[in-house]
Structure formats: C-alpha cells, structure tokens
C-alpha cells in the first residue's frame, strides 16, 4: 500500500501526487451503444482524452457464409447485416447480382422496390430519431418514433409476412405482388405521417436544451469527412453532396423529383436536420412512386439456376438509410459467389468517433455516437 502511494509521489515535481487516466469501458453491454459495441474511453475527469472502439462482438462472418450459399440464398443473410434497414441491403445485393448476370427487373418490380426502400428509410430514420433523442436524455421521442414505425412495419407484414427481416427484394424482382388495398393503406399512412414530422420537430428541433447539446458538438469538417470515408446523411450534414440516388441513380430515382438534403455546419444538429428533411423527401418519393405504379409482371425471366460468368466481378452501390452501401461480388462460373464483400456505412462512419470526441465531455460521446446513426451488426457483419 505504501509502495503504491509512494510510486505516485513525484519527487521534486510541481504536484505532490500524480494523476492517472481514468479508463472506462463503455460496453459491450451498455444502454447507449445500441448493441454490443465496446468503447474504451480514457478520461481526465469528465473530459475525454481518447475513444477506442473495439469491434467484433457481433461478428457472424456473413461474408464468408455467402461464399457457401447460392446467390438467392445469400439474400436471407443480407437481412441480418442491417436489420433496421433490411430492405436496402436486400436490394444492394440483388442489384449487384443483377448487374453481374445481366438481369433486368420489370418496371413494376422496380417501382415496388423503390416504395419499400423509401418506407424502410422512414422506419430506420424514425428509430434513429428516437434512439438519438434517448441518448441525450429525452425519452419520449423514442416512443413517438416507434409508434409510426409500427405502422410501416404493418405495411411490410401485410406484403411479405415479416416485420424485421423481410427477404422481400429478390434477384430479378420482388418476392410477391402487393395486396390490392396496399396502395390506399400506404397513402393513408403517408397522410397520417406527414403532420407527425412537424410534431417531432416541435418537440426537439428548437428545444433549447437539445440545441445546447447538439449545436457545435461533434463537428465533421468536409475534409475530415472525406478523408475518413464518412458517407450518407452524416457527410451531407457537412455540406457535401454525396447522395448515391442523385450521383449515380439506380432504380427510377432519376424519374422522381426529390431534393438532396444538405446542411453545412457538420455538427450533430445538422446531421439531425438532414435526416428529418430526408423523411419529408422520402414521403414525396413514395407518393410519386405510388402514382407511377402500373400492373405488370414482378419478376424477370431467369434461368432456373443463377450462375455468374467466370471471372466476373462487380461493385455496385446504393444509398441505404445510413449511407453508401456497396456490394462487391466475384463470380467464378458457379451458382455461388467466389467472394462477397459488403461496404457498410456504419463501419466507415465510426472511424471519425475518436476525432470528434477528443477534448469533449463523456455525454458528448453519446450525442456523437447517436448522430452518426450506427448499427453494430453493420459494423461487424
């Protein structure tokens, strides 16, 4: 005991007792890390000196599993990569496979995919809004968000029977056509939902405490964002146009009118504003898509066994709810991909966490982590 005490006394130094870093493990089980992310945080009092994310607690080796499954079977695994936005990942894989095998999905299937992906974006942003508000201490928006998300999940359940992992968007089309009353129910939902966005904004956007906690906190400068590979709404909050739907349109995004939401400040509040505005844009995209929906086939004509050409490779990307979702596939002439690689937005966005939190307080880690909209299974895969 005395040895321990003596070792901390600086002989001849300015202070008699030395101070030490306070190392705290946030996670893997912690209420604010949205799953099993572990952060090793070094603190000086309340001030953060270093944040080191430790990954791998949710690693399920999905990329390796895909090498041993046929292309249609892989779709099921893509659901589990980002279970909050499963439709987008379904489509990301389907798109890559279609490009690899030169399959063109019919128009109705494309419009349906757009509707479901945008509904999924709404559901994902709603959950994000609730979790973000919860991270900085407001518990009520979480339940508001889930209340509306529930109605979106009802629409999904009505169509494909699932509420979380849909496996709905398939290679060459979609699993099943929508029910006759889907369109009217969807429009009813959108009419109900649009005023609700104003309600969330009333509750949060200009709340003085919310502004205090998010304005100027965790600023991603444009250079830092690009260098670190930040993407999606998190980068658009820093004033950079990076929406894949605009830059490299897929599906029929070039045929609908919508604005790319960009804010310039780069702080948590800007990222919040970007996502809130995106919800409104998504609603408008869904409305336009529902109008353009025409009867027709929902699946392309395909061979019974899907085989990629020998030595073919493809990298295709889409804008998922969290940012750029890229899929890299290598075909070897068999029915199974030789290599499947997913480029996930959560993983690259997490990279800036240490830079953003250095010198800030413990509570800001939660605000920044929340504003980056990170999903642990997407980080670990």
């Amino acid at each position: 005991m005395t040895d321990l005490l003596l070792s901390q006394v600086k002989v001849g130094g300015e202070s008699q007792f030395g101070t030490d870093e306070y190392v705290v493990n946030l996670g893997p089980q912690h209420p604010a890390t949205h799953g099993v992310l572990r952060l090793i945080v070094k603190l000086d009092g309340e001030t953060v000196k270093e944040t080191v994310p430790v990954l791998g607690y949710l690693h399920r080796s999905i990329e390796k599993i895909c090498e041993n499954r046929t292309y249609p079977q892989c779709i099921t695994y893509t659901d589990r990569i980002d279970y909050v936005s499963a439709m987008s990942v379904n489509y990301a894989f389907a798109l890559a496979t279609e490009k690899l095998m030169n399959i063109e999905a019919p128009a109705r299937a494309q419009w349906l995919r757009m509707i479901f992906i945008e509904l999924q974006r709404l559901a994902s942003h709603l959950l994000w809004m609730g979790a973000f508000a919860g991270d900085i201490g407001a518990l009520t928006p979480f339940l508001y968000g889930l209340r509306e998300r529930e109605r979106i999940l009802d629409l999904f359940e009505m169509t494909c029977g699932q509420r979380l992992t849909y496996n709905y968007i398939r290679i060459g089309g979609v699993m099943i056509d929508i029910l006759p009353d889907f369109v009217s129910k969807c429009i009813a939902f959108l009419d109900y939902f649009e005023p609700k966005i104003d309600e969330y904004e009333d509750l949060l956007t200009y709340n003085p405490i919310f502004l205090e906690r998010t304005k100027g906190v965790g600023v991603i400068s444009p250079e830092m964002g690009i260098n670190a590979g930040v993407c999606g709404p998190s980068l658009r909050g820093s004033g950079i146009a990076c929406d894949v739907r605009k830059q490299q349109p897929y599906l029929y995004y070039d045929q609908v009118k919508f604005a790319e939401c960009i804010e310039t400040a780069g702080d948590c509040w800007s990222r919040y504003k970007v996502r809130m505005r995106e919800m409104r844009e998504s609603v408008s995209i869904i409305r336009q898509s529902l109008e353009r929906l025409e009867p027709g086939p929902i699946e392309a004509k395909m061979p019974p066994v899907l085989k990629a050409p020998l030595n073919s490779e493809i990298y295709s990307r889409i804008e998922s709810s969290r940012g750029e979702m890229g899929v890299y596939l290598v075909g070897d002439g068999t029915a199974k991909p030789w290599k499947a690689k997913f480029r996930c937005a959560s993983f690259s966005n997490l990279y800036v966490l240490d830079q953003l939190t250095k010198g800030w307080k413990v509570a800001d880690i939660m605000a920044v982590l929340g504003s980056l909209d990170m999903i642990v299974p997407e980080v670990d895969r």
Binding site: N25, A32, E46, G137, A138, L143, L204, E212, K361, V362
Partner: protein
C-alpha cells in the same frame, strides 16, 4: 366540518385519553412527536407509492401508451407489487465494496430526505414539529443526500458509480446556492423562517407569493428539480451515459431506498414550493365555495406541482455536466441575487424603513 385542526384535536384527545388509561400521561410530551412521525412515515410511504404510479401514468400518457393497468384498479397496486418484488429479491453486492459506507449510504439517502417532511405544515397545526427555523432546517437536512450519493458512488467500487457520485456532488452543491437565495426574498418579506408562519402571512396579506415572486418560484422549482436529481438535471444517474450512476451496484431493498429517497426529495421540494409560493393550505380564491379542508387543498396543490416536475422529466433532453454548472452559476445565481435586490428596494420604497 372537518378541518385539519379539528382532526388533530380529536386524535390528540384520544391519545391523551389512552395515555391516561395506560398511566403514562407524564410522558405525553415525549411520545406525541414519535407517534406523529410514525404517522408521517406511513403517509409518505403510501403517497410515494401513489406518486410512482402517477409518474408511470403521466409518462405513459405523454408517450401515448397506457401505462400500468394490470394489478388492481387502474394499475394502482402495481407499485405495491414492485415494492414486494424489490424487498424479496436477492441483494447482490459487489465483492470489492467498502462494506460499511456501502451499507449506510442508502439509509442516509432515505432518512435525510424523509426528515425534511417533518416541518411541512399540511394544515393549520397539522405538522409534526413546527420549527421556528423550518426553512433553514429543510435546506440543511436535504443537503445530506449529497453525502449519501458520494458515499454510494465511492463505496460500490465501480467506475460509473464513482463518476455519478462526483457529478452529483458538484451538482447538488451548486444548486443549493440558488435554492437558498431564491427563498431569501420571502423571508425578508415575512420576517419569519417558520413555514406555518409564512403561510399565515400569505393568509393575512391576501395574496400568494407566486405573484410578486414569480422569478423566485421559477428559480426554486428549477434548483429543486436539480437537487432531486431529476431530468433534465439527472446527470448523476444519466442512464444513457453512466448506466445507473451512483446506484449502479445497488439492488433489492437498498435500491428501493434510493428510489424512495428520490421521490421523497421531490415531495419535500414540491411541498416547500407549495408552502412558500402557493399559499400552503389556503383555498384557491375562486374555488373557496367548495369548503374543502386545508390539507386537501395542500395535497391538490402538491400533486399539481409534482405533475409539473414530472412533465419536465418526460419532455426535455438532459443537460451536459458543464452546461449544467454554467446554468447554475451564471444564470440562476445572478438572477436570484438580482431578485433579492429588487425585492428589497421595492419593499423599502413601499413601506419605509420599519417595514414588517
């Protein structure tokens, strides 16, 4: 018509008759306060259970949920079920705890806040002990909670608990200052520290202090919320940052005591707010025709103020620790000092030097 005073007279008459039967009339002065303290303890336990139920219902209403509705009518017995569950579950203790402080901390947290209830007048004469330094006593005794929280944070040997304890110490000490300063104008006006005396002054003056002292009321409620560690000032137990804060390592009965202590702190501070600013047991002017007894008025006002505090919790996000300190020292304290100065000058102008 029953008033608080009548009830007290009847009960004490009965008690003194009972003492005479047993032959301990000489000890009446010693036994009376004990009995009233026990009654108060029973009341506060039931009232807190009601408040927990109310909080869950209020939050459920604000979040468009239903809330507890399974146990008893309207789920009223839910908290009883929770209390039974908490008292019968295993008391999990960390191995490397500091044994004695770990054991004492929840008791101090509970007792310190409960002691504040002793001087609250529910009606004219309906008070456990009408101290002539009532306000001073309440402020002093509720300040003890910081010791309990710091001890709990230190002795549980948990990093999150320690962080929570430190935050709490800083917070409670900072907010004690505006809390006291916001009360000063009222003491200056009334010239008494006794809570009953302040209510009687409001009765004679014919107005409640919330009208001339609205600023003081706002400062008081804000600081009291901060002192009770409730959102938006709940940084010592910030769930999303520090898990449970200082009570991370507590379970079972010990956790229940912290929980109870937090609610009693809310009750005490709201009760003081009602007494100082909302006329205590006095009836609401335009509802005077109802002829309700004073303690019913008091309870109605008390529950309304507590509802306000609950509504804060379920609406606002949480402040960061440095912002919380800034708000306390840079906004609330200057504002309350300014309030004292203005009150004093106005009083001097209106009533001259010998004003009382």
């Amino acid at each position: 018509m029953f008033t608080g005073e009548n009830i007290i007279q009847i009960v004490s008459g009965f008690l003194h008759w009972a003492y005479a039967q047993v032959g301990i009339s000489a000890l009446a002065g010693a036994i009376d306060p004990v009995i009233s303290a026990i009654v108060m303890f029973g009341f506060i336990s039931v009232f807190v259970m009601f408040l927990v139920w109310m909080e869950r219902k209020v939050s459920a209403h604000m979040q468009s949920r239903i809330g507890p509705n399974r146990v008893g009518p309207f789920g009223l017995l839910q908290t009883v079920a929770d209390a039974i569950k908490l008292t019968t579950k295993e008391d999990v203790k960390p191995v490397n705890r500091d044994k004695i402080p770990y054991f004492i901390a929840p008791i101090v947290a509970f007792v310190a806040t409960f002691m504040g209830m002793v001087v609250i007048p529910f009606d004219k004469g309906m008070v456990v002990q009408d101290l002539n330094v009532g306000i001073l006593y309440i402020i002093a005794i509720t300040g003890f909670t910081v010791i309990a929280i710091l001890t709990a944070g230190w002795s549980s040997n948990n990093k999150f608990a320690l962080l929570g304890g430190f935050r709490s110490a800083a917070q409670i000490i900072s907010y004690e200052v505006p809390l006291v300063l916001s009360v000063v104008p009222i003491i200056m006006i009334t010239g008494t520290l006794s809570l009953s005396g302040i209510v009687e002054y409001q009765q004679q003056a014919g107005y409640w202090f919330i009208f001339p002292q609205i600023v003081a009321f706002i400062i008081f409620i804000t600081s009291a919320t901060a002192e009770a560690n409730r959102a938006p000032f709940d940084i010592p137990e910030a769930e999303s940052e520090l898990i449970g804060g200082f009570h991370t390592e507590y379970s079972g009965v010990k956790f229940a005591m912290f929980f109870l202590g937090e609610y009693i702190a809310v009750v005490v501070s709201s009760a003081v707010a009602v007494t100082l600013f909302l006329g205590g047991w006095l009836p609401v002017a335009f509802l005077g025709f109802l002829h309700l007894p004073g303690f019913i008025w008091f309870l109605i006002k008390l529950v309304s103020v507590i509802y306000l505090v609950m509504a804060f919790r379920w609406t606002f996000p949480r402040l960061r620790v440095d912002q919380l300190m800034d708000f306390g020292w840079k906004v609330l304290i200057p504002l309350s000092i300014l309030n004292i100065l203005i009150t004093a000058s106005v009083w001097l102008l209106l009533y001259g030097k010998g004003a009382q």
